[in-house]
């Protein structure tokens, strides 16, 4: 039951974060949203991801946003979306969600141990990774070894983002 409540709470946070006109509150709500998400993931046994989300998602993102906010303006100007645009956005969103929901109809039931995702590639990681890599945490083993090049890419993304920020912020007006 707690899971249901957490998920519901996520939605509330998300809506509030979007609707708040004070951007600082918005950012704080986003932080809370990330943090709840981390809790949800812990309950889903994704410990590593939850740690990362709590530190990176709830932590670093919030800090970055606040830093950006301190160099800009705190309040969002009130805006009225023209009805024509609202119609377009509404259609796009309804359409997208309709497709997504349509997709969920055929999905394996949540938590089904016989789902294809659990029976094709993953078993080998669970069975052999300790012998092959020597780390008990399978996530680490896959991350560092089997799919090590994704991790190289990930590092590159961080490096790239750093350089991008340098490139941008050194701009003179």
């Amino acid at each position: 039951m707690i899971d249901f409540a957490l998920l519901f709470f996520l939605v509330v946070c998300a809506v509030a974060a979007i609707q708040m006109r004070d951007l600082l509150s918005s950012i704080m709500l986003l932080g809370i949203y990330s943090f709840i998400m981390a809790v949800v993931w812990t309950r889903l046994n994704a410990v590593d991801v939850a740690f990362t989300e709590a530190s990176v998602g709830a932590g670093i993102t919030t800090i970055l946003l606040i830093a950006a906010l301190s160099r800009t303006r705190r309040m969002e100007t009130k805006q009225c979306v023209p009805p024509a645009n609202l119609l377009i956005y509404g259609t796009v969103i309804l359409l997208t969600s309709a497709v997504l929901l349509y997709g969920t109809l055929d999905m394996p039931t949540y938590g089904d141990p016989g789902a294809p995702a659990h029976s094709h590639v993953a078993p080998r990681y669970l069975e052999k990774s300790y012998e092959e890599v020597g780390v008990p945490n399978v996530v680490t083993a896959v991350l560092a070894s089997y799919r090590g090049y994704d991790t190289l890419g990930e590092t590159t993304v961080i490096f790239g983002a750093g350089i991008c920020v340098i490139l941008l912020l050194r701009r003179k007006i």
Partner: protein, 501 residues
């Protein structure tokens, strides 16, 4: 050793050089270019080696970290991506050559090391997308190149570039996330991330709603990335305001990679039967690409800014690339694939020359090109060649692609596509013809007294910028006059994709 590890070195060389560049930049600013130049050069040579090896020995599979495919990440180089790989590496190499002077003029010295670093990351990302055989790895490289792309556009001195880049970032992130959803959905029902493995496992699931949704999200996400009409809205501003060299590279490579990904998903991960019988994506793409072809040309006619005109023309040309895939026969597919290279050559030339003009004269409007034929004869000759090629004049590359596309349309009994192609050629001829006429026959009346005009006679762009542009223009002719090589590669790739259909 090099031969063995060439597939991974193609990526790693620019990737690691990107790290090296800022370090070198601390020593000496101008060495950055040398490192970038060396890296792209090596990468180009390696990609050429790969192309050669694929053509002689067939498909290469490279296991990263030594893990066999469905478990580890695999790089697969076949007839299709070796061809695209060489195109991108070549354009990247020429662009680096071009960047030396151009970047100095358009970007402050403090930012140059960062610029080259990002530039290399961008190329590495694109190359990585093309070479990988793992669908999640593709996403990672897509994000590397996208992030770098946003920054490169915003590196321009023009303030309009900032918002253009920001909008591109938002749409690009939506696109990437859609692709991520597609990957997740496929993983959910197959348990695999390897493209070849997915190809084997998917046919049993073709009617699963999950797979259909995944395909829809892939299509929309990739179309957004590749600026297929009507999802092209981010492209004109981004290309118009970006630094010259960035516009050229993006127009010549980034959208091509988008097209490549589309083909990979449509024809390698999924099979032709799926596209045709289950989702009939091809008929949707047919309509969209035809609309892109016509409207891209029409919108291009309406523009006054050179780069914006070229950007809209890109929208139309992307339509051509997608059109071939939606006709679904070998001839049209060949046209499509060879257009990936051909359009890169033409658009690269045009954007390079636009940059040359900007560098020398600060002119950005088409009206400013009047009488430019006397002041910058070589640049304008290259522009003319590429412009004629865009219009599809025979013996230029533009003709080759259009010939195959039109013939493919006829062979598929879709004769009404031929007028679409021809009309857009005509429209292209109109907008380039207009410019070419004013280049050679217009007189630069306003702003220039006749005295200053005669003093300005022959004020050509610097050699470093001119040579890459001329080289591309010459290739427009060479591969138009003797297209057998390029068409041969494209045909092999088309056969691979369509499996003899």
């Amino acid at each position: 050793m090099i031969k063995e590890h060439a597939p991974v070195l193609v990526i790693l060389v620019p990737l690691l050089s990107a790290v090296l560049v800022p370090l070198v930049g601390m020593l000496r600013n101008r060495f950055c270019w040398h490192v970038a130049f060396a890296a792209t050069h090596v990468s180009f040579l390696l990609s050429g080696l790969l192309l050669f090896r694929v053509q002689t020995n067939g498909k290469i599979s490279y296991r990263l970290g030594g893990w066999e495919p469905p478990w580890g990440i695999e790089y697969v180089i076949d007839e299709l991506n070796s061809f695209v790989l060489v195109t991108i590496a070549f354009i990247g190499f020429l662009a680096t050559l071009y960047a030396r002077k151009s970047v100095v003029a358009e970007i402050e010295p403090v930012r140059i090391p960062a610029f080259y670093s990002i530039f290399l990351l961008f190329l590495a990302g694109l190359l990585g997308i093309v070479i990988t055989g793992d669908i999640f790895n593709l996403y990672v490289f897509l994000e590397i190149s996208s992030l770098a792309g946003y920054a490169l556009i915003a590196a321009s001195r023009k303030r309009e570039a900032l918002l253009a880049s920001y909008n591109y970032l938002i749409l690009g992130t939506i696109a990437a996330t859609f692709i991520l959803i597609g990957i997740g959905y496929l993983y959910m029902v197959t348990g695999s991330l390897n493209m070849a493995d997915l190809r084997e496992r998917l046919p049993a699931l073709y009617h699963s709603k999950v797979v259909l949704t995944a395909f829809a999200f892939f299509s929309v996400g990739i179309s957004l990335k590749l600026a297929l009409f009507p999802l092209h809205v981010w492209l004109p501003n981004a290309y118009t305001y970006a630094p010259s060299v960035v516009s050229a590279v993006m127009a010549a490579t980034a959208t091509k990679v988008g097209a490549y990904v589309l083909f990979r998903i449509m024809f390698t991960v999924f099979r032709v039967e799926f596209d045709l019988e289950v989702v009939s994506i091809t008929s949707i793409l047919l309509v969209l690409s035809s609309a892109a072809i016509i409207l891209g040309s029409v919108l291009a006619i309406a523009q006054t800014n050179i780069k914006r005109m070229l950007a809209y023309s890109s929208v139309g040309q992307i339509g051509y690339i997608v059109l071939g895939a939606s006709i679904v026969n070998e001839t049209a597919m060949t046209g499509s694939l060879v257009h990936i290279l051909n359009h890169a050559l033409m658009k690269g030339t045009l954007f390079f020359i636009a940059g040359c003009v900007l560098y020398r004269t600060g002119i950005e409007d088409i009206a400013g090109l009047r009488g430019m034929g006397r002041r910058m004869p070589f640049s304008m000759a290259a522009f003319t060649v590429a412009g004629l090629s865009m219009a599809g004049v025979p013996l230029t590359v533009g003709f080759v692609s259009k010939w195959y596309l039109a013939l493919g349309a006829l062979r598929a009994d879709l004769w009404y596509l031929v007028p679409v192609i021809l009309v857009s050629s005509l429209l292209t001829a109109v907008y380039f013809g207009r410019i070419i006429e004013s280049i050679y026959f217009g007189r630069a009346e306003d702003g220039h007294s006749s005295g200053s005009l005669s003093r300005e006679r022959m004020h050509e762009a610097p050699t470093g910028m001119l040579v890459p542009a001329l080289l591309l223009a010459v290739l427009c002719l060479v591969f138009g006059i003797s297209a057998s090589t390029t068409v041969g590669y494209a045909e092999a790739a088309a056969r691979l994709l369509l499996g003899g259909r």
